[in-house]
Symmetry: C2
Subunit: 216 residues, 2 copies
């Protein structure tokens, strides 16, 4: 996968942008205005192209959407395929914890593309295909949670599907507020999410700290 | 707050609906088509009114949006005000855990209104006001997390603001997939979220289960 362009590049560019820059601008516009609310004319204006010149760079709007969704899905699929690998010598618990940590890293590195992916509702074949790929990732994560429960390293009193949804619901919620360059860096994010989810926030070892717990 | 109407009411109704039914249908349409993508004509058609008759029931589209956002915000504010109450004899930890549990209950009970609230981006004074109320809730939750850290019942190695965001990011992620009447009920949801967040998923007491943990 090619590297993202520098985030501080000027928004009004000159003709001569490479395809990567066109894709970055398209993803930003789709996130700001919605995919349906963005025309190729909007994108051309954003890049300083004429409306006809934009087609020298990209065949269609849906092609850009597909590239963006593939960017996010390829990165997330790579994480889960490594984590779900049966040939790994690591425990299912260690692989699950690693998958959560690496998913956070993928979200931070590909924030605009993942943001777009999480908004997809299935309005076209490209979107339906993206939803299928998301479901395949979710299924493998749920299976990994079940594997960690089966090996005795993860609590078994919660349904694995629900645990998987909540775990990655927490990870995905980053796109609502996380902005690179802010007070929280990717390492702190990963630490906070994995620590909260696996170790818990309560300091049970202090003794009576949990006595006020309401019945669940 | 008035009770929501039965979710299985027919979608194509006859004239004579009360205001509560009009509001429920409006919220559903806003969530399905977007607020900007929904006209009063759409709502009239959905309810079986003529386009002019709808104004006998509601003054404007923005009035419906405001009522919907207030429904969600009033319920969430009530939860956090109780939890943040300094006169409570409960520990900050117990109040925070209760706030998480009750927030889940609010989301389940007011799912369409909360879904609408979480999509608000600040496109009007009504939306900006809703965002202000959301921020006030977030601030009080972050303060409650800090209070629990200060009393020694919550781990202090993670920034309270970040913990609060992730905790309620996990809670809010419910709107993406939770549907009443499915396999998971509200009690199981509350249990799963509070158990994961406060107690953690890892079974540390089994001993070597955590040895495979990658460095955070």
């Amino acid at each position: 996968m090619s590297e993202p362009v520098a985030p501080r590049a000027p928004r009004r560019g000159r003709p001569g942008h490479d395809q990567e820059t066109v894709l970055r601008r398209a993803i930003d516009l789709f996130n700001e205005q919605g995919y349906d609310g963005t025309s190729m004319g909007d994108l051309a204006r954003e890049l300083g192209f004429t409306k006809s010149a934009i087609y020298h760079h990209v065949p269609s709007k849906s092609h850009l959407l597909e590239q963006a969704l593939d960017e996010a899905l390829d990165a997330l699929t790579a994480v889960i395929e490594e984590a779900a690998s049966a040939t790994s010598e690591q425990s299912a618990y260690a692989r699950l914890r690693l998958a959560v940590r690496q998913s956070v890293e993928v979200l931070v590195a590909h924030l605009p593309a993942v943001t777009l992916l999480l908004r997809v509702r299935g309005n076209s074949d490209i979107e339906l295909n993206a939803l299928r790929r998301r479901r395949a990732i979710d299924d493998r994560l749920a299976a990994l949670v079940a594997e960690a429960v089966a090996e005795g390293s993860l609590r078994g009193d919660l349904p694995p599907d629900l645990v998987s949804r909540l775990l990655f619901g927490m990870v995905n919620s980053l796109v609502e507020w996380y902005r690179p360059g802010g007070a929280v860096d990717a390492a702190m994010l990963s630490k906070a999410i994995t620590t909260m989810a696996f170790d818990g926030l309560a300091l049970h070892e202090t003794g009576p700290g949990d006595t006020g717990t309401p019945p669940a």
